[in-house]
Symmetry: C2
Subunit: 255 residues, 2 copies
Amino acid sequence: MNIVLLGSGNIATHLGRAFHGLGHRVLQVFSRNQVNAIALASLLESSPITALGDMDQTADLYILAVADHAIAHVAQQLPSSLKGIVVHCSGATDISLLSRFTAFGVIYPPQSMHKHSEVRIDQIPFGVEGNDAGTTALLLRLAQTLSSQAFLCDSRQRLALHTAAVFANNFTNALYGISYNILTAHKLSFDLLKPIIVDTALKIQHHLPHEVQTGPAVRGDYETIEKHLQFLSENPLWLKIYQQLTEEITRTKES
Amino acid sequence: MNIVLLGSGNIATHLGRAFHGLGHRVLQVFSRNQVNAIALASLLESSPITALGDMDQTADLYILAVADHAIAHVAQQLPSSLKGIVVHCSGATDISLLSRFTAFGVIYPPQSMHKHSEVRIDQIPFGVEGNDAGTTALLLRLAQTLSSQAFLCDSRQRLALHTAAVFANNFTNALYGISYNILTAHKLSFDLLKPIIVDTALKIQHHLPHEVQTGPAVRGDYETIEKHLQFLSENPLWLKIYQQLTEEITRTKES
């Protein structure tokens, strides 16, 4: 396949390397930042461009691997006459944003990939959606050459997956941060909780979360909960987070 | 040391085995449940008792390894004339609950230890507190024979540690549960997020949580946040949890 890569960030870098490695031809790498365009293009035996007017219009696939907020803006500048498939890689962006193209779709990896880290791309899940059956099938086959974890995922599912990832990933890290702040404010080392943090993440690899829930909320230990609420009374936001997650655990237990 | 173990649950089992293994003598194991008392006592070459009236009053150490809510009740039934040190093992229970004894303290492991799982007790942190300098020093030396991770921890610190563990452990599991529910409601596999859940827990082993925070909140990506809030609008509790953890991440970023 002949590919044009729009973007030079984390996803662009890993997708570009993967496609190049599989023998596809990356015709061009577009970035407004010339240094980034040149750096990634040289890695992929490709040509750097910094103006969309210079874009090759004969490619089979256009990958919009830019920041979420820039997708609409970049897409708008591409000619709607393109014959190739135009895809974006965003979890929270509807496929309909690309609807003025002939063939369009999404290839979404629900995992952060850092530019400078090694990524086992064949283990990364890729959620795939196309504007019609033919495009969807083609994109799925393509994603399956990248990874054994490629799967069909419509826009509603993709938004669900993106939201779920925020809870499982971004928000758990925020809770680690609250723990860290509580401990250091009391001259205790965060190291004390590092082992159980890993244990908790490992447990749900082989059990459902509600099967391995522990703590005062699931035990109905209101006396301990009351002590924790007292303890947190000087930080209203942490108090509310405590109350609501306690309510969530209580409800899940009852249902 | 001559030890009386009050309780036959998870902590009683692991502490009993560890002390027995170190050559201490567990004189008696108390449990209201005769089967449990006999089972643990036989493991520790000890005598089972089911009535506190039968308790040996000459021991050096009495370990109250019973459920949090039962500590006060059991402690109340022990003679205040005991010469040995009386300790409990609870994170959320003040040391003062034991103040009618001559010598008393706490040995608190901020980690769940299941009765039937192997536990590397020498790696478990033990927070130690005593009623006076002598008792504290003795309990700390004792805890250090159990584990390289023993440390001094007063009642206020212990409550901080216990509360922090609820955030880092119980509440992260509740977030995994929300993710699981969102995914299955949209016919997506929870397996999709298992790798990043482990990644997130591993990242904070070598970085501070706020250094590795990712997601729309820390990027200030309000457009994506708005989509997620819309998506969650049918579940007011998840919506509130989402809003407050987003606020926590935003505040941490600003401070």
